[in-house]
């Protein structure tokens, strides 16, 4: 197996991209990554496109075929990867395996979603189609509803309060203020979302105990990376950023059937695999981009990834060690919570952010002395999870 590196990264703005089609978004992110790498596009032999909703939301299928045509990459091999909100992580994993195996040298991985073409009502229904059709979806369950049921149990079991959740939201909003690509550019304070009579209006219930500011927005956006063998990075005048390890694990489709619904086993397994392949432990992680579609998930994933013991993330919240200036920054990009969550793009956007950070190109939100980072891309409600360890080379 060969070591695999990232030589180019690119993103579109995340948010409401009214004038752009899904293909525009994927094309723009791809070209940004190609330009960043400075690669001759003719060298790209394989393209993976991560997308969840093209068929349902945009009436567009066979998206990878359309993309290589639009950006002039024919005759590169091209596949669309659909794995719910973990599509991006899955596409990267497949790209890494393609390069590591020696079958391909240069692979473009791009994720994108155009979710704001439809009403919030329709978008909520679209995402809910990833639940079990006969045992969950029929009841009108939503992903916020799943997260609400999970939070209900997790908060009770480990002693978290709505104040802890609000602190996560406030941190991630502040981080996103330093991220020009972020969807939500708004500073928030405890008074406005929890500690005043106005908070009941500003921060209305979404799926109890979760409120509006506990949730990510519905976003359009795209992100892309270019992978190659580590020994060819020197051809591109770029720092060596390696995908040192990946892991992926699944769990039962229904939340109800898990022995302990608060146990995100797939997160733990995926991270353990990624650490093992990278030859590290969770103690070696300098910062992480976690899949905080809901504030409770930043907490639970940090704990299930082994960065903290169960219930231990409270300490990070209370001490501020999870802030950009802290000892273990979590979601310096603003996370899904504020950078946004175009579902197919999210896993790729996490890798883009980590690459910028490891290169020292993250501007105001730069994490100091970052060398090794973790991403967790959480599909379904924790039933299909992809973790990556990225490391700055020598």
């Amino acid at each position: 197996m060969r070591n695999v590196a990232i030589i180019g990264v690119g993103m579109t703005d995340f948010g409401r991209l009214e004038d752009d089609t899904l293909m525009d978004i994927l094309s723009s992110a791809s070209l940004h990554a190609i330009d960043d790498a400075g690669i001759d596009p003719k060298l790209i032999e394989l393209v993976y496109v991560a997308n969840m909703g093209g068929g349902i939301l945009n009436h567009r299928t066979a998206i990878a075929s359309g993309l290589v045509d639009n950006i002039g990459l024919i005759p590169a091999a091209a596949d669309t990867i659909e794995n719910g909100p973990a599509s991006g992580g899955s596409a990267i994993k497949n790209g890494v395996m393609a390069v590591a195996s020696g079958y391909y040298d240069f692979v473009l991985v791009v994720g994108g979603e155009k979710m704001r073409d439809v009403s919030g009502w329709r978008a909520t229904d679209f995402v809910a189609t990833l639940t079990h059709p006969d045992a969950e979806y029929i009841y009108g369950i939503t992903l916020p509803g799943m997260a609400g049921m999970f939070a209900n149990l997790y908060m009770e079991k480990y002693g978290y309060t709505r104040r802890h959740l609000a602190e996560v939201a406030i941190k991630n909003h502040k981080n996103a203020l330093m991220n020009p690509y972020a969807h939500v550019q708004m500073d928030i304070a405890m008074k406005g979302i929890l500690d005043s009579p106005d908070a009941a209006i500003n921060n209305s219930p979404l799926a109890e105990p979760l409120h509006l500011f506990d949730s990510c927005p519905v976003s359009d956006g795209g992100a892309a990376i270019i992978l190659c063998p580590e020994d060819r990075v020197k051809e591109f005048n770029k720092p060596v950023i390696c995908v040192a390890g990946f892991g992926q694990a699944t769990d039962t489709l229904t939340l109800a059937e898990r022995d302990d619904p608060t146990d995100l086993k797939a997160v733990t397994l995926a991270c353990e695999q990624a650490y093992k392949r990278a030859g590290i432990t969770s103690k070696d992680i300098d910062f992480a981009e976690l899949h905080d579609a809901f504030t409770i998930l930043e907490i639970a994933e940090a704990e299930h990834a082994g960065l903290y013991k169960k219930g231990g993330y409270k300490k990070a919240i209370e001490s501020g060690e999870n802030k950009i200036t802290g000892s273990l920054p979590i979601n310096p990009s603003g996370g899904l919570k504020s950078r946004g969550h175009p579902v197919g793009a999210t896993g790729v956007a996490q890798a883009v952010e980590v690459t910028w950070q490891l290169r020292g190109e993250a501007g105001e939100r730069q994490v100091k002395n970052a060398r090794t980072a973790l991403t967790v891309n959480f599909g379904g409600f924790g039933n299909n999870v992809v973790a990556l360890v990225l490391r700055r080379g020598k």
Binding site: W121, I138, M149, P205, P209, A256
Partner: protein, 114 residues
């Protein structure tokens, strides 16, 4: 459309309870099951009162939860009132509770036992 949510199963080999239906036991890999009847009562494990609902549902909010039946089956369902707590005893009713694209949909509706 045939919905596979009206029966629970017990693995003939290892006894693991499966709901909803699947073709292979997650614990032992067996493909042989017996039908396990639902009990009339269950215990509420968790719930959420959901305010932003998907397309096709016109309620202002819904309360949805997961209950454990007395023989171990766990299932999601709607809850009749929002004033509930984890651990409450519930009566389990199999009901027609909505239509999707003109099709009658049956499922679990849980009601607190007073």
């Amino acid at each position: 459309m045939k919905r596979k949510n009206d029966k629970a199963y017990k693995c003939k080999k290892c006894g693991r309870v499966t709901y909803p239906e699947r073709v292979v036991c997650l614990k032992c890999g067996s493909r042989e099951f017996t039908v396990l009847p639902f009990t009339n009562e269950c215990t509420l494990l968790t719930f959420s009162q959901i305010f932003q609902l998907p397309w096709g549902i016109n309620d202002r909010y819904l309360t949805i939860g997961v209950c454990q039946f007395d023989n171990g089956i766990k299932a999601m369902g709607r809850i009749t009132i929002p004033e509930v707590k984890n651990g409450m005893r519930m009566k389990a009713n199999w009901k027609l509770f909505r239509q999707i694209a003109g099709e009658d949909v049956w499922g679990w509706v849980f009601e607190p036992i007073k």
